[in-house]
Structures are given as C-alpha cells and as structure tokens.
Subunit: 454 residues, 2 copies
Amino acid sequence: MESLRFVLPQSEIPTHWYNVVADMPSAPLPPLGPDGKPATPEQMGAIFPMAILEQEMSSERWIPIPQPVREIYRLWRPSPLVRAARLEEMLGTPAKIYYKNESVSPAGSHKPNTAVAQAYYNRQAGIKRITTETGAGQWGCSMALAGQMFGLDVRVYMVKVSYQQKPYRRSMMQTWGAEVFASPSNLTQTGREALSRDPDNMGSLGLAISEAVEEAASRADTNYALGSVLNHVALHQTIIGLETRKQLELAGDWPDVVFAPCGGGSSFAGLAFPFIADNASGGRNGKSVRLVAVEPTSCPSLTKGDYAYDFGDASGFTPLMKMYTLGHDFMPPGIHAGGLRYHGASPLVSQLYHEGLIEAMGVPQLATFEAGVMFARAEGIIPAPESNHAIRAAVDEALRCKESGEAKTILFNLTGHGHFDMASYDRYFSGELEDFSYPEAAIKESLQHLPRFG
Amino acid sequence: MESLRFVLPQSEIPTHWYNVVADMPSAPLPPLGPDGKPATPEQMGAIFPMAILEQEMSSERWIPIPQPVREIYRLWRPSPLVRAARLEEMLGTPAKIYYKNESVSPAGSHKPNTAVAQAYYNRQAGIKRITTETGAGQWGCSMALAGQMFGLDVRVYMVKVSYQQKPYRRSMMQTWGAEVFASPSNLTQTGREALSRDPDNMGSLGLAISEAVEEAASRADTNYALGSVLNHVALHQTIIGLETRKQLELAGDWPDVVFAPCGGGSSFAGLAFPFIADNASGGRNGKSVRLVAVEPTSCPSLTKGDYAYDFGDASGFTPLMKMYTLGHDFMPPGIHAGGLRYHGASPLVSQLYHEGLIEAMGVPQLATFEAGVMFARAEGIIPAPESNHAIRAAVDEALRCKESGEAKTILFNLTGHGHFDMASYDRYFSGELEDFSYPEAAIKESLQHLPRFG
C-alpha cells in the first residue's frame, strides 16, 4: 500500500529559517516614516523587541530557530505533506497533486508558526503582555495559544462585528487564556473617540490595529504583534517550505508549480520562498519551480494594484511600505476568506513579483468554494475559505494537465481548516454566496489617496 | 531535542482488527429478540449486511481489515501517539502521560474508524444508501464522510433540537454530500406519528434511531449504521489500541493505566481491548495494564447501573442486550458531553467489567472542563467534552503520583477535538455550566422498567 502522507520525525524540524532577502536580485526597499525618511529601529522599538527588528532588517540567508521555539513547534510540527491521490482520481488528471497540511496546528492554521516565535522573542526581551488585533479570529487564536506557551498575557482587540458573529473563535482565545475585547473599546483613546463619534461603530481591522498599537506604545511592559505582511513574519513561515522540500525528497518528487493563497502574503511566503533559493541556483535538473500567489479577484492587490509606498493599515498609522496596494483606504467586498481581505501584499512578496521571480493570479469566490467542496469530498478535510483559493488554482492546473496529457507535479498550501467557517459553506450550499464583480471604481478611487512621497 | 510525537509510517497501518471475544473468560451473551429468544442473523439482516453480522458474532481473534478500508484510513491514520510533556510539567508530576490523538480525522473524532468499515461492507453487499441518526453530530459527520468515500448516499436523521442548535455540524455533513433531516420528520411513519401527537416535538436520539431503522428496513437498497455499542463497532475501533501498542514500543514505554471516556463504549473498547490480549497472556514483564472506563457521574451506567438485558434504544425497538444499564427510558441530564449520554454500555465492555477485567469510574462535569482547559493550555489542542472525562482521570492519576512519588506511565484516549463544542466552553467560562447531582431517583425509576425476561 503506497504511502500518501510524508511525515518527518521531530528531529527533522528545521534548525534555521530561510531569509529570502539573501537571494533577491536587489535589496528590499526600506519602510519609511511619516516624514518620508527610512523608519529607524528606534521608532519601531516602542512596540517590537530588538531581536524581531533585527530579523526585519537582516540579509543573512539562514537565521537560527531558538530551541524553545522548536520545542513548542513539536506540538504539531513537522506538519504532513500529503499526496491528494483521491482528488487526482476524481479529476481524472495525469498530474500529481501534493498539499502541505498546515491545518493541523491547535489553532487550525499556519499562523502559530510566527506567533510562537514572536511570543518567544518578546518574552526574552522581558515583555509581560502582547496586544494584537483580530478580524475573523485566526490570528488572535494563534497569538493567544503562543502567549500561553511562553507565559505572556495576551490582549486581543477583535473587530466588534466578528466578536458578535464569531463567538466560538472568542471562546478559543479565552480557552488559551487570552483577554478579548470588542473593538472599538473604551480601553484606548482611539476606541473612545470612535465610540463618541458613533456608539454603534461595529469596528474595522484598521481600528483594532490602532487600539492594539496604542496600548502597546503606551506601556513599557507591553508589545504588539502582527500576523502577516512584515519580513520577520514571512521569515518564520518559511519553516513550511523547508519541511516541504525535505518531504518531497522522501516522496521522490519535485514540484513544477506551487500555489498558495495570498492576502498579506505570509502563507505564500512560507511555502514558496524556500524554492526561490533553488530557482536562484539554477533550479533542480535545470528546472525552475513556478511560484504562484493566488488572490481573490475582488481584492486583487498583486494583479491589479499599484507598486507604491503605502500605509500598512487603513488609518495611516504604520510606517509606509513599498508594496502592491489597492490603496490603504480600499474596503474589500465582504468575501468569506477574511484572511485575504487586505489592501496590500507583503513588501517581500511584492518586490519578488515586481522583479518577475514569482507569479500571481486571481480567482472568484464561488469557484473557490466549489473547489473546496470537491477537495473535502475527495480528501476528507474541510478547508478554510482562504485555502480554497489555492485549491481552485491547483484543480485548474490539474484539469489543464488532463487536456494536455502532461503529468505535472502540483503543490499547494492547505493553510487551515474550515471548522469555524461552516456558516460560509452554508451560504454556498443555499445559493446565497455572491461572486463580487471586480471593484474597479473603488480601487481607482482609493489609489488616488496613496501617499505622494517615497 | 526529544521527540514528543510517535508517528508510524502508513505501511504500519494494522492489517487486522483485534476481536476481544477470543480472550474473554466466557463467551459473550447473545442479543435476544422480543420473544426472549436469541436474535437470529436473519432478523438483523434487514438492516445490516452479512459481513457485519458475521463480525458481530465472530470469536476469531484477528479479523482482516479489507484493503480499500486501509486505503481510506491513510487519509488520517496512523494517528499520533503524543507524550504530554508540557502537561506533566504543569502538574509537576513524576508520571509520564501519553495520549492517542484521534481528533485528527477529518470528522474530528475516532468515529470514522468504524464508519469507513461499515460503508465498505455495505457497498460490497450492493447497498446504495445508508440511514443513520445523530445527536450532537459527531457520528452523522463520520458516516457522511465514509459514505462519500465509497459512493453511498447517506441520509442522517438529526435530533431536531441539535439540527437547530448545531447548524455547523449539519453543514459539515452536507459538505460531504449527505442529506440531513430534522427528526421527527414527515419522511417516516414514526416521524409522522410523533408530529401528529406534537407538532413541536424537538426530537430525541431514540426517535431518530427509529426513523433511520424504519427507512432502512423498508427499502432493499438501504441499510442502517450504528456508531457505538455493538460488537463490530468495538472491533473496528481496536485499530486505535493496536497502533498505540506499536507506538509505545517506539517510545520505549508501556502503560500502567489506560483511561478512555465511556458512553456506548466504542472509544474505550478501541484503546483498551488490545491490552486485554496482553493481560490475558500474563502482561508485560508480569505486569497487567489497568484499563479504566471513565463515565459522567450523571450518566453512570457501569458504576451505578444494573447488569441486565435491556433495549439498546429508548423506545424498545432494538433487540435486547445484556449490559450495564440505567434503564432504556432513563433520560440523562443535559451534560455537554453528548456522546456520553447513553443509558447503557456496550455488551462487550459490560461483560468485561462484570468479570473484573476492566475498571470503571465516574467524574463530574465541571471537573472535566477544568481538566480540558488545563490540557488545552499545556498541549494546545482543545478537547471534545467527551475526551475531557479521560483527561480528568489522567490528571488525577498524575496528581496521585505527585503525592506518592511514583513515576507511573499513564495513557488516555483523546477521542476528539472541541471545535464544535465551544459553546460549552463558553458556558464553563461564564460560570453557567452546572454540576448535576447523581440522578438516583430517576435511575431507580427507570430500572423498574427493565424487560422482565432474559
């Protein structure tokens, strides 16, 4: 009986993260302060520990994973690489399809890979509490879990509409010991002002970020943690691709093409970046791996955005970053892949895309759910709506192989499970799920508001 | 870095299930028909395929697992055996604690181990559709998943109150292609009669069983599937303990005591029965493994029930089985471990308990949630309320070791995750969760209604 899952022993948990900066054709463009000059570590030191800022700026190829972080990774890592043999059969494709199963973490997604590292470095720096924001709840859960592992208090500002609609994500965070507040709250100046303007304000991710950052900046024992976009987050996620490379060797295979969902960009970076090292050194047997970021057609930062300096948050609070952006005040349609509703893409992902080292594509919402249901019926696991974007792309590639007769090897990132997204599946089955049209006018409008310098 | 997870390669998925009947001091007592005479295979053949009835009556020690069943098991098996090192540290115990993680199946529990086998045998017998019932939804999900894997239509009668309160379990079943009906429905005579008596009838497990059985009995292409209690279900679940034994050898360890939650008894049977073979042949190094079934104090069939012939369902529709029972019309308090709210225990588990080969204990609801939260904070995974019963027992044993200084090895069955039970955790955190008192009067009353013959 052929093995479908390729599992590494825990002794094979990577000892180093891979820093793609070392293999980029040109150095990353720095973040800029409000004055248009490069942001200094001192400016960012108010909310991040120095070890993380060093990683943010590093160009070292290999960065050691601290032993206590590897020890926590043991709770669910190495995650399995799985051959989707039943999906191949269902599609009748000659292609081979593999997926890296990041849904196996206790929080249900890849997010704890960086949350655990960030908790560790903050703990090392003497920090007692972490503030962060969460929308749908994936990141808040991951930070709650990670804080518990290193004895940090975690305070999560959860967008009020999600706080009310997703009580179970909130209960998960509480199970791991975190405090969760509906944002806007009356705990911060930002929150109080928002509530005084509109007592019924249901919150936004931008507002929740502002509240979390305000609390972190105002207390010496408190730092802030972000779950995507930044370089150190992408770095920590490379453990996904590093494990995958070893597992592919076990399977005796190598991908022609890699797909991962792309919102802020951390799950794409995590799986794809380690293959850039291979491509940079000429590929395997002279063959480069195609690396494809898959985004929603309704929030198409890479495929339809400008490559420009823009704020990381909606309210213009963060440093400016050079990235593909739809404009920081672009409000994406209410798609169910909440983790992909971000106006920009990570600066590293953006620069690699700009320089032609990676590709990007958009897929519409209904087609992603169709692919997710197909995957669930073939492979069992019910995927997160974010993951369905990568699955759609993989399925379409496999169907093209069926047409052409090519036996390509396809790899995708199953970034999380859909156990807390069943309401979205319900809407899909009842025919209530919409396909949003491409929000051309809204993007055009918000791109008018890009900061003018930089 | 020490390994905490012991993972077998897929080639080590067991080739045979273990039938504990071969090692029982006396033969199992047969089920009886309504006339008090042993039920015949012909009587049961209306709703079960012959291959399953043969397993139900077999006394062969090893029963081959069909290759197509092993191939589906590959989607998540072998499941990990995990050393709960952080829990040990949190408790400050010299004991070693291991858990078998059955929460990794796509449906989130051990239930698919038998659902997949039952789907296969029904498919082999030419059956086109399966009917079953579900309360909280664990079993319905598992049967929906298994039916999809073998191309069977699955129709689930879901207790109406759960159908309304647990829409996400329903969406999961639909994602796997099953049809789900609120029970009582107007699809069966039983359902129509119940609705005509009371149009607002919110259903019960007994009623849902009756609807599923009625449909299966009335159609030649349709069979019925049950998720616990019966011998063949216990048999299929022994894959849990068989894998665990191999994994303990990898870990270089052997348990002193094994805990598993016990409702109908299938998860206990699954983990514990294979150790009965060891105990029967004198134990390892002359040491027997203590095997402890953990039940809720509010539904204490083994610890407070009578050992008697009783119906398997509330309405007296099934054959009579000799088992520890609280009386078939005992209505357990509304504890959140829905899978343990059953009036009896599997006949095999009951007989082994009666003959002193296994032990049983009861734990109260609040203490189980306290242990579950402790486990989640140490090990990450949020357990199902059913699993929390085994965790409570394991934690208490580890704390006794702390007192005595003994370095025992403790093993328990993590039967499922709690992703669809967060409302129960919510109630626990908000202080709304009750500890029910021992329902002595209700049990005394229902034991009066035991059938008088047999």
